[in-house]
């Protein structure tokens, strides 16, 4: 199969310009790029039909190799119609963009930008759960003695603090706190935080 070099060169130039143009941000240029790409492809299809020959379905006596291949031309016709429809639609969209935004540029996706700027910390999912989430206050644990243990029974490894040795403790929210402190916490207006040796709650 021989191929027309001029057609190939033109096709290459059209592809190059088309690809360059669709990378632009201006919609009109993108449209021109798409049109060039479609036409370059039409030339490519034409080239697959081989070198120009006689008109197809010419006569039964003609050598089959002298015919031009009609199928690529039928394909091109279809593809021209399709690219015509798409071009018309794109023109409509571009006009509409102009009416709405007075600009001929591709715009960013607002929601995408918003999601990109969202911090990875999510207040609802990632917030540290407070130690006390129960709706029932700790005094209810301590008042009747349930849940209160003497620290001498438990093997608490709090050798750093001598103050907790003789006091009763309450387990709450994964921590062990003094029963006195727990009771204090429930009194309105009380100073319920004793600064410990390391600044924390004893």
């Amino acid at each position: 199969m021989s191929v027309n070099l001029t057609l190939l060169t033109v096709m290459g130039a059209l592809y190059a310009c088309g690809i360059y143009l669709i990378l632009e941000r201006s919609l009109t240029r993108v449209l021109l790029g798409l049109m060039l790409l479609a036409n370059a492809t039409n030339l490519l299809i034409l080239a697959t039909g081989g070198y120009a020959g006689l008109a197809p379905f010419f006569s039964k006596d003609t050598d089959p190799r002298a015919y031009n291949d009609p199928l690529p031309q039928a394909l091109i016709l279809t593809s021209i119609v399709i690219s015509f429809a798409v071009t018309a639609f794109m023109l409509g969209i571009i006009y509409r963009t102009w009416v709405l935004a007075r600009q001929d540029e591709i715009q960013d996706d607002v929601e995408d930008r918003r999601v990109a700027e969202t911090p990875s910390f999510d207040a609802e999912d990632d917030a540290v759960i407070p130690a006390e989430t129960s709706e029932f206050p700790l005094t209810m644990l301590g008042s009747d003695g349930a849940g209160v243990t003497d620290s001498s029974d438990t093997d608490l490894a709090d050798s750093d603090s001598a103050a907790t040795d003789s006091a009763a403790t309450v387990k709450a929210g994964g921590k062990t706190i003094l029963a006195e402190d727990a009771a204090l916490e429930e009194k309105p207006g009380s100073a319920n935080v004793h600064p410990g040796p390391e600044g924390g709650v004893k």
Binding site: T78, F89, V110, E124, D125
Partner: protein, 534 residues
Amino acid sequence: MNIASFAPLAVVLPILGAALTFLLIRHSHAQRAVSIALLSLTLLLECWLLASVWSGGTEAVNIGGWLPPWGIVLVVDQFSSLMLVVSSAVSLAVLVYATGQGMADGDQDAPVSIFHPTYLILVAGVSNAFLSGDLFNLYVGFEILLTASYVLMTLGGTGPRIRAGVTYVVVSVVSSVLFLIAIAMIYGATGTINMADLAIKLGELDQGTKTLLHVMLLVAFGIKAAVFPLSFWLPDSYPTAPAPVTAVFAGLLTKVGVYAMVRTETLLFPGDTLNAPLMVAALLTMVVGILGALAQSDIKRLLSFTLVSHIGYMVFGLALSSVAGLGAAVYYVAHHITIQTSLFLVTGLIERRGGSSSVDRLAGLAKLSPLLGLLFFVPAMNLAGIPPFSGFLGKLGLMQAGIGLGTPLAYALVIGGTLTSLLTLLAVARVWNRAFWRKPEDAEHPDPVLLAEAKDSATGHRAGKANVTLLPRTMVGSTLGLVVLGVALTVFAGPLFELANHSAAVMLDRTAYIQSVLGGNATVPELALGGGGK
């Protein structure tokens, strides 16, 4: 007279409907009646086609009496007729939903009267792509559905839709140009574009040319099917369209791309030359897609990302190129079309009821409308792959096929698939916890509409907007119908899986397809690598 003689009607009936509804553009009631009636008729016809090829058999019809390989052929086999039935059932449900929405909102003189003709053209394009036995006719089918989808995507011409539409149109046109270039090159190399004929002649090309043509087709279909790294256009463009339009796009358009990939892999380029890159693409599609979904707060965008992610499962099954893998992929396509569409329809209902589709604003919907909760919960759990549902069955089939193959890459895919399934569960559970379970006052940006007392819980009228029915019966009914169809895919999973596996075996064998198109004397070339034997 064979059964396939009626196959062209699956394309002609919707186009006829489009012409009729276009004539009836000023009579919205007649328009609705005509489009629903014709689509139901198409669905019935396709059910009949499926029933006749259920136990095997591939039939072809020559359009216009031109003999293959010169003329256009339409081929009906198990896979294509299953896709036809599922896609038409889903499009009918969406059409009823859109009609209900139109009637509820009273769009007598809105520009959406163009919706019905365009929608029917879209259905015709999808049917044409599924039936086509000719590569260029497949391209025409794609173009019909894409051009219709451009119009539907930018329906109403509002700012955000035009912005999203531009991206969508440009990406789609570029993929179509790539497809057309591939067709031209294939014609240049072999002198035919009939798929059955190509199946024979492509085998005679040298490996380099074959790989080039193969890659070009896969890239073109990969853009349409939204396979990573060609998937970035999808979450950007789908969510802005109207709810029913997004639903039908999510269900059908990407699956047409997957269908074309399946045909390319099984019929045109059998063997496992590109299976390894396809597996990597499948893994990345699954994982990257679902990670994107976790970052979203808008339900529509979240679902668009899960859509991309779950395309990975289908490519996974396809890349295994074994009967078990391909069969599971066929079943998964049918499952995913139904489930993804119903989720988008439910999101449309959530948006109507809750006034927003953002999980930052939504709250307490389970109390406001338990039915809505049910409608969301069932497909969401189905999507995540919770055991009794079809999503689980499809994923299980894929995992078993992956382990059956036993290569390190297949194991990586199995692990990636499990991880994706768990992350999908996390994503939909987040939506569930926030939109349905938490109290309205706990929301980050509480919605005054949701905080207000509901006057009438099921079909209450929105505060401030009189005469807007929040949950019209037609919309809820069609969504419920799709959810029930999704459950039916689970209940009838046994026969369906059998059908899928049988169709996979037939597709990998290729003999039935080639001989039904080219006549019983056509010689089917031996597979170079015997991918079907695994």
